[in-house]
Symmetry: C2
Subunit: 253 residues, 2 copies
């Protein structure tokens, strides 16, 4: 992989990863196929983490509640899918246009609790988000460290839609070893004026950068971002939990 100079970024996909089965170690598999160096950030698609953690469900095995059946009829969706969405959710924000916008039990606001049916075996199967994506990131980071000896960061990324803007972008649903937010508040600009509200979503920007080398069909479910060493630390850090806007500070609930 080409080196990235100071304030230069290089992003490359990790190719040749296997189809993940429950119990397989994502970090080990990536370490065997990527050149990794101190300061690299490994961005991993949620889908393979969920598969390795056994988070697939068969809709035919789900018994929908009456509330799930009611919402499914309103939305024109499968009751079993809606049941899984409700089980994964702490709160329903919107139920319109065939989609539930929810806050998941992890505190992520997204459509259908992140449950997805693409790139899965069998038409009856859906994939849930990892149980605890920050814990998943820490575990993958430990596997990568054990295999490579390098000091790395890990992001677990998923595609989220946005309010007001079309197009999904990848965001960090879990991370470890990476400073998720770069806080410039209290620092000063080049003219000596205090930067008022500059808190930069590094982990989300890195997830988006990694998506640009991926391909939804050929399955490149991991990428290495080189050049963010200044945000990679020895500790696992606060994780992507730090990216969740507290409910009481959120104007759009």
């Amino acid at each position: 992989m080409s080196d990235a100079g100071p304030h230069e970024l290089a992003v490359r996909g990790v190719h040749g990863l296997p189809e993940f089965q429950p119990g397989m170690r994502v970090g080990e598999q990536i370490a065997a196929r990527a050149e990794l160096a101190d300061g690299d950030l490994v961005v991993v698609s949620q889908k393979i983490v969920s598969k390795a953690e056994g988070r697939l469900r068969k809709l035919s095995a789900v018994l929908p509640s009456s509330e799930a059946r009611r919402l499914a009829a309103v939305l024109g969706r499968e009751p079993a899918l809606i049941e899984l969405v409700l089980e994964e959710s702490a709160e329903v924000l919107r139920a319109e246009r065939g989609v539930l916008i929810v806050e998941t039990r992890h505190g992520l606001v997204c459509a259908n609790a992140g449950i997805d049916s693409s790139n899965l075996p069998g038409k009856d199967t859906v994939c849930l988000l990892p149980e605890d994506p920050d814990a998943s990131a820490r575990r993958i980071r430990a596997e990568l460290a054990a295999a490579t000896g390098a000091s790395l960061g890990v992001v677990i990324a998923d595609s989220f839609g946005r309010a007001w803007r079309l197009g999904q972008v990848e965001v960090a649903i879990g991370c470890a070893g990476l400073l998720p937010l770069d806080d410039w508040r209290g620092r000063h600009d080049s003219g000596g004026r205090e930067l008022a509200a500059t808190l930069i979503g590094i982990a989300d920007e890195a997830a988006s950068a990694a998506d640009l080398v991926r391909d939804k069909v050929s399955r490149t479910p991991a990428a290495v971002v080189r050049g963010l060493g200044r945000y990679i630390g020895a500790e696992d850090g606060p994780g992507a939990a730090a990216l969740r806007r507290p409910r009481e500070e959120d104007l759009f609930r």
Copy 2:
């Protein structure tokens, strides 16, 4: 600049740009300082585009309306700033916690109509967004093409906060020559299942990738993203206007 292989990305800042004054040509200045090749994407900070277009305003020269004075008192902000925000806006979505969330006349939903006071000369000066950021991108693209002969894309990027998530990320407020959305709807995954709702915000992800090589203090207000040639076309294309979610499809107004 290092080459980027297929499905590999390289991002590098453009250094040594001057302080922009009204009438200066952003594309010419960048072309003089960056190695550019066919298929490169040039990501330019909104701030320098606005400066070159003379979009600075002195708050002391603004006469606030009674509505601006009323809102300013509620929000604890300067009436002159609120007046400018209202002048730039088509609709106010929220007025709380010291901030106006508005839809700008361009159709962008953001805080304070994108008006910003960092990295500007004089404490009384603020910077408005470009009058028409897609037109700005087309003009910069034409300047770059004239200076280099290369087929390039241009994104004009600004930092926006998000609903539900902490941390600002850079998004595309204008673009030219770049496919802003990669539409996978109707295509099929590796298992033959149709990808239901996969519309990828390429222009926004590229803006975020470019931000990772920038530095808010040392002023690196432009970056070159190499490796997105498959999204760069001969035509200017639909611009960032294509990223605006139609009001009637938006659940969070």
